[in-house]
Symmetry: D2
């Protein structure tokens, strides 16, 4: 089940060290101008190696469109994109081939499938998220046509929390920090983890502005439930909050309700979603990333024969995945919104008549 | 989109004050013994009016099976269940007919659909969750055949947190409290809210024991992402955590990784899920409920013509929805697991040969 | 898998002799006026016992709407309908309980599910199609809002073929005959089969007029492939043709191509579908029904222990299911078109802007 | 909607003259040995230019697997395959750029999407079916593990019908003829059409042997309805029959019913499917292909401005698509069966216990 979405739907393929990764995006309306440079720029935001806060690993992230675009515009048919793994030559995996790295999917993939591509995590590698960013870029091109804007940034690293959110600052920060005043402390936490061969967690915030009222389907395809689905499907995510989220469990109804006047909502505790449907306010989502399990310290584990062994990984890994993860979260948000926009078109007869009459 | 699940799939219908509510459960394997008393007992756990901590409202919660069962066993065909609303006579809704109750779906439903069944919230009422509990009870009957057990309870009310979890105690507590030592404080918070015509939030914890390794599909139908989807679709839920969840963002990788020995995992920070797939440990999920928006205090709002009006609700509502919500969360967990059990059957050729040879 | 459709989607439940049958229709746009008398009139067209050419069996076909409609209009939420089986008291099924009626699903249901509701065929009974007609009536109410019209009739009984098609005549004919000049011969064939305790097959023709250009999705949800899917899912159907269908395999491309002028298509061999998408011409479909397998002659069969036994059925059955089947085919066509209308809304950015701007 | 299947599911992409075509196959169980030579041999059976009865056009049909296979075995993750169009340099399309070729999808794609890749039909080209054959080859590798066999051949060309079926002969025939005694007459019909710049239709027969009892889901995902869906989605198909199909409408129930003895079914008029579920007999399907619309004779048509123009095509096209279409039909059958095999696994609790206990 490598697909996500109902009407604006994408399917991904590829392993960390296989020939290629990519996706097919289905349900893209015809007539959207495809700006390939924009898509590549989104890939570049996610790619590793941009600073010392990220893994120094280089990945082939040159995206290529194989179908679905004609003379610069989408044609309404399936749009395939591919990233070839430039250096897929297998390095030596002897040290991980037969053991289960703690905190990774090695154990569960082995038992579920009975076979495991152990090269760099295979399909379970976060490298898969590059395909999401490519698909998300196409979704963003559609959202832009409707004036919808998505931004993201880091609101917490290792418990060091932003006190205020500046999305413009985030775009210039090496760690996409939302609060310039907390940025250096957050950076230090990452470097400290890196130097001690350990890792730290963090939290990304995603904000959508100018979304129309009405996005989200009743009961089991709600906007918030699909956002939760989308975000929790990202590697290393262990928690999702909408609006005030967990804080709202600690206050009273009177404090949490967003009262309304003829000028609009007086507050936005709900994070822009009521009854699973967008209310026109900013959509606010927090995405919680655990510390990356790839650390370079001795750990206990077992091999595929369930024999105790020592796990001592080598290589290059992000000391904190939350910053690059925020780009993925932003992409998943774009994909959810694109889907919801298409789904909502048939909510009322009035809309149908607009299209057919 | 009133359906949930891929292979073990249910679809619900019905409004708070319509003729009836119910569901069709599709994909139920043949040969499961249907214990109607068990299904009714699950309905009774969710139903309101069991104590002073809940709304005193009485709902018709007598479940009736219309199809899919023959001589006490499932037949493999669609299983329909219905709850007739015993007292659907319309009381006077003049006071809410044309205004949008803050914190409710009134505003978004009106704008999305252009029409709104204002009687008790219509389709957006939490009354819909009674159909989930009915479907969940059927899922539980299947899980029981495989020895899988689900429990739940309340770990926090209005910020008052349980220090330890006793799932047996929860079954005897009027508020399903997991920690007897915090129970009276939590109850007081609820009563205080009730007396002041306000409401409070809370957090439910769901635990699955004895789930097999391998549940959860790769990438976009992961066990954790579907749990997040399921839980966030419940009325009033604003946050979902798996395992240590948000706490894990504050520790290092070394502290968060669950190391493994030949005797099993040394800890369970992951909440029983690695790479989106169950690892055989207990599955642990926290579900965060906002305070119910139905409060009996003056609030600002607008009517359908966007005129400022005062909202002064009357009636009977839960001062805290988390306790009854925990039963719904438990049901949704059962439904997710039932689906994942069926989906996982075809993960490897070996399983297919077990069935066909 | 008791659901059909992607956006306008229905799910059915119920067995021939269970408590009730019915359906949930999901994805119905809000704002459609629900004419309950029209829905009942559609049920009445399908119901048995209207003439001597049909089974004299009486079925409870009084449809009841349980949800999704408020003050006479659809609300955008799931619409449930139910038919209670008025006389579900079990007659004596001793004679069929343990044997497999030839030509029926008894054999395959028993082996697939390991259990079988043998009362009147259980779930495999054509009684299930009453739920399709109810759902189809809702679809028709939506299609009428857009001026789309569906008609049907019988073009062949036992090989006796209509020479011309008069859809108005069909509405007045007891066997829905399209050709008045062949009607008596066709009726005689049915009566002869009835008198000899045997049965005959027949062919229904469905015609859609005024469908917009553009219905049908690319490649795997084509209009023709979904029509084929829909029709072949009806009990007793063994063949489906679009437009000239099988005849087109016997002519040349020059004769079969529908040439075009500025006044429109010069012919309609294609049956209104090109590349899986409607071209604005009448959509023409032929649906082939085998003779009903329920005959009252001695037949060889086996019982559930694979012992040879004689099968001598009693009861009341249609000597020819094609006429009543034509109403079901018409309903399935309405359901396919309703789905395609909603799906096609997002085919191009231009449509999206019409809805959101 | 470029996907087909529920559990064994494939999604295709690519245009006739774009960079590449291909597919992602999702739901492939882990542990299947992938014989790349077999997959290529299936591609070769479909590819054009093998004889004078086919178009002389050369297509790049070298299949490349990008993911989902590790050390020669499937891993349970998505399997991507791609065919690069070797010679995608655009020839001159001036003559078709702005006009609608009769019998083609040009007209409907233009109106549905507002934009059209006119190079060789773009997405609507039968070149897309090469991706189906690649996916179908993977399905066949799974079916072979269970001993299921699929064969096909041509039973009619331009109305010249085979009198007997010899599937072995078909494998050696240039036109996959099932009846050697009719082959030369059928070949002549094709050559005559070719010489007169015209085309002819034909009929393919697909036979499955050794399928287990129980394939096909109840009511709306029946084996026969999905076969009809699959076959009708193939370019140029206008009719589908199961078993005796249309002939069964002309006989009585007594003649059409397949009676049963303790040695098995006495006949197979049903084509191996009862109630939408396989009964263990050979599955028999007839697929009717219209004459290819690409002919080299003058035809009337209009351009995109609805001006009358003359359509005089040039190029190389199959004078009869049925023979190469039979390979596609065989592939679609394999894909339907693979899906049904996985779906049927959860039909009864007994099967579930086999997998989990």
């Amino acid at each position: 089940m490598n697909s996500f979405g109902e009407r604006f739907k994408f399917t991904t393929f590829g392993e960390s060290h296989g020939k290629a990764l990519g996706c097919i995006v289905d349900g893209v309306p015809a007539g959207i101008t495809i700006d390939e440079e924009f898509i590549q720029s989104e890939m570049d935001r996610r790619k590793p190696g941009k600073s010392k806060f990220e893994t120094a690993r280089k990945e082939g992230d040159k995206i290529e469109i194989l179908s679905g675009v004609f003379e610069g515009q989408t044609t309404g048919t399936s749009l395939a994109m591919v990233l070839f793994n430039e250096n897929q030559k297998s390095k030596d995996y002897t040290n991980v081939k037969d053991l289960f790295r703690p905190g990774h999917a090695d154990f569960t993939y082995f038992h579920k499938y009975g076979i495991r591509d152990y090269r760099g995590g295979g399909r379970s590698s976060a490298r898969e998220t590059s395909a999401r960013v490519a698909a998300g870029a196409v979704a963003k091109l559609m959202l832009q046509e409707l004036g919808i804007n998505i931004q993201s940034g880091i609101c917490s690293i290792n418990g060091i929390q932003a006190q205020s959110y500046d999305f413009n600052h985030a775009t210039t920060s090496e760690i996409f920090a939302l609060d310039a005043s907390k940025e250096s402390e957050q950076k230090e936490a990452i470097l400290k983890a890196k130097e001690s061969h350990n890792s730290v967690g963090g939290v990304a915030l995603v904000r959508v502005s100018n979304a129309p009222i009405g996005l989200g389907e009743a009961i089991y395809h709600k906007l918030d439930s699909q956002i939760a689905n989308a975000m929790m499907s990202i590697n290393a995510v262990k928690g999702v909050e909408i609006g005030d989220g967990i804080e709202s469990t600690k206050v009273t109804g009177l404090d949490n309700n967003d009262q309304i006047t003829s000028d609009g909502f007086k507050s936005n505790h709900s994070g822009g979603i009521l009854g699973g449907i967008s209310n026109g306010e900013d959509i606010i989502v927090k995405v919680h990333f655990k510390p990356t399990p790839s650390i370079f310290l001795n750990q206990d584990t077992v091999d595929t024969a369930n024999q105790d062994v020592n796990c001592a990984l080598k290589g290059r890994h992000d000391p904190c995945v939350a910053p690059r993860g925020s780009i993925v979260a932003e992409s998943m948000m774009a994909l959810v919104l694109a889907d919801m926009l298409l789904l909502n078109m048939s909510s009322k007869l009035e809309n149908i008549k607009k299209v057919y009459n």
